[in-house]
Symmetry: C2
Subunit: 397 residues, 2 copies
């Protein structure tokens, strides 16, 4: 890192585990926030044993926890709890994603935190929020996707609902939480007041349903899943090619005309079934096979090249194997490399927050379990070697 | 609104259209930022004519543009451009999501903006970023989902890749952009320096692939789509019921034991095929039908109630028709109502940024096209009635 950090000086105490919270604090840590990750003594964040594992190290964990420091604390011990409260005094921000109510039971909830640090910004992430009829419901990402409406809307009309492959309700809630935290800090800078933030995965998913809710509430139509098609445009779908499939999207006459010119069938625009976008949508089952007849004669790469050339939206569903060498991701610094001790160099997604003057720093690898316990206790809380030894003997750290 | 706003005093000039940018500025406007939306004279934001439409008003537009003011400007006219530059002087933040390079050609890019306001924070959103091999590629949400890897990973193993139903690459890029803007403002508050932010939808999608990239880069395995299943746990899937389907997720012995107790088959844990999570995953094709035999004897609601009771993660894929009356969303203020002139009261998703002291304000409806043109010109830029009339005659506003 040679430049400045956007979030230099921001101190975050991070009790989060698994995905939503760690994604939130990774975004902020890459921008220079000092993130101290509190992990359970002995095993740490659950993701330390999540797939993929190589030589005992998890790529799940090491991807999502770069740029952070790790301290181990037994939060159920008096000493561990005392140190946590001392770190809350140190922090500007606390983030946690235990199941609703758990951190309160540990004596480290917002009410306890504000007693030792009245200006604290304290964010909780849970499946359904800290209160209400579902607040005690067990939540995994797939549960939040289903309960928030994303799963029902994903998949083919003739098939079953299907969840989004990656755990997007976790990632999306993580990044929404980052907005909430920075906004609360903006308020605190102006007024001196901290506050509590109560984020829920179901809320976030429901907030990302595009126009689905007004379709229901304005028109009384319950939106259905439609695969790769578009509710208002055609041809707009995934088509088979000689070696796979390709996604082509034409949403107006200009794009359709460019497509049929490339296909060598410019007269299709004269056909009364295909002479406007509404007519093409009405006759989607006739125009789609015509397009596919053409795509089947070419490879995916050929179709992409021909349509890119004339500005028709086109894409193939890239696999991760393709993406880890993608030239645009490389150009964008979205493929970064880090050393994992005992494993070697591993490639991860970079940080998508492309601030040009203060770019994210993705050079600092994820911490080993408790790697910074001594450093944090000594430098931030002024414990001496003897006290640290005693805490270790007591299994408090 | 009776309380305080988190982002009181923050001034945002918003050139964005359709979804990604408007979602970003909606999140910030609900928190009290003063967002001025610049729209094309005559037709405005494209989404003003997007589905769903009732009495000429679009629910797509009115959902995503609440809490903002609208000014119409012809950015291709000298006068319109001059007013835009005056508004850039007024603003703390500019956001735009034209295709890469377009706003520069209009003479309103970052270089021009910083000349009139050196401290400006200026964010661009595009499909692939402002430079690099794909930067001129046409981008729709479905293109970004496919190019970023989300589509390949979504769907059933025996079926085709399928895009996420709602346009999540738009929403996700919008919220990531909000983080970038607030972080840049944090830096500016400390140093006085503004900066440029160059966000890309492909980056955001690639950043949300969970553990997929390290699976490839650590193990050399190219991750595949697996429907509603889980790569490491079973039973963990969507199962048919007597009236639909239900998602059940057991990721450890404790949850499995609770499930089979409710099923009345507690001995299954003794079966060597099912006595550990790895064994159950290995024999997924045998345990899944056993679970489904049970779920088929009950309604979805019955299975949900029985498993909620014992804390086994369970969900049904809720449709929007169900969600608009959901008791938890109601409890969370995630179902808000607004008057749309000429339409009546419409229900929308609320704002998921649940700051408790300075909650989002979702009371202000989306503006009619150019509703605040005169007010903005008079109050912020001190134009008089005569000048405004002249601008209108010139079709500059």
């Amino acid at each position: 890192m040679c430049g400045a950090y956007a979030l230099q000086g921001l101190k975050i105490l991070d009790f989060t585990r698994v995905y939503s919270g760690p994604y939130c604090t990774m975004l902020l840590a890459d921008l220079g926030a000092d993130v101290i990750k509190v992990e359970a003594v002995g095993h740490g964040d659950d993701t330390r044993s999540f797939y993929p594992i190589k030589n005992g190290e998890s790529g799940y964990f090491t991807y999502l926890n770069r740029s952070k420091r790790s301290i181990t604390l037994n939060l159920k011990s008096e000493e561990g709890k005392r140190i946590a409260l001392e770190l809350i005094q140190w922090a500007d921000v606390v983030v946690e994603n235990f199941s609703a109510g758990t951190i309160k039971k540990l004596g480290l909830g917002y009410e306890e935190a504000r007693k030792v640090n009245p200006k604290i910004v304290y964010a909780s992430i849970s499946g359904f929020g800290q209160s209400g009829p579902y607040s005690r419901k067990a939540a995994y990402d797939a549960v939040a996707q289903a309960m928030g409406g994303m799963t029902y809307l994903t998949g083919y009309p003739e098939g079953e609902p299907v969840k989004v492959g990656p755990a997007i309700s976790d990632a999306a809630t993580g990044v929404h939480t980052a907005v909430a935290i920075l906004a609360a800090l903006h308020y605190r800078a102006r007024t001196g007041e901290g506050q509590y933030i109560d984020m829920a995965m179901m809320d976030t998913v429901f907030s990302m349903l595009e126009n689905s809710v007004p379709i229901m509430t304005m028109l009384g139509e319950n939106p259905q899943r439609i695969g790769n098609a578009n509710p208002g445009s055609a041809p707009y779908n995934m088509y088979h090619t000689s070696d796979g499939s390709v996604f082509i999207a034409t949403a107006n006459d200009s794009l359709f005309t460019r497509l049929i010119n490339v296909m060598g069938q410019p007269d299709l625009i004269q056909d009364p079934r295909f002479n406007s976008n509404p007519n093409r949508k009405l006759h989607e089952k006739e125009i789609d096979p015509i397009v596919e007849q053409w795509t089947l004669q070419h490879t995916t790469a050929e179709v992409e090249a021909m349509l890119d050339e004339v500005g028709v939206p086109v894409a193939s569903a890239k696999s991760v194997a393709q993406l880890v060498d993608d030239p645009q991701l490389q150009h964008r610094n979205m493929l970064i490399e880090q050393e994992v001790p005992g494993v070697g160099v591993v490639k991860y997604p970079g940080n998508p927050l492309k601030l040009q003057l203060t770019p994210p720093d993705t050079s600092r690898r994820a911490p080993m379990l408790g790697e910074h316990t001594d450093e944090i206790l000594k430098e931030l809380l002024h414990y001496d070697e003897e006290q640290i030894q005693q805490l270790r003997t007591q299994k408090a750290i």
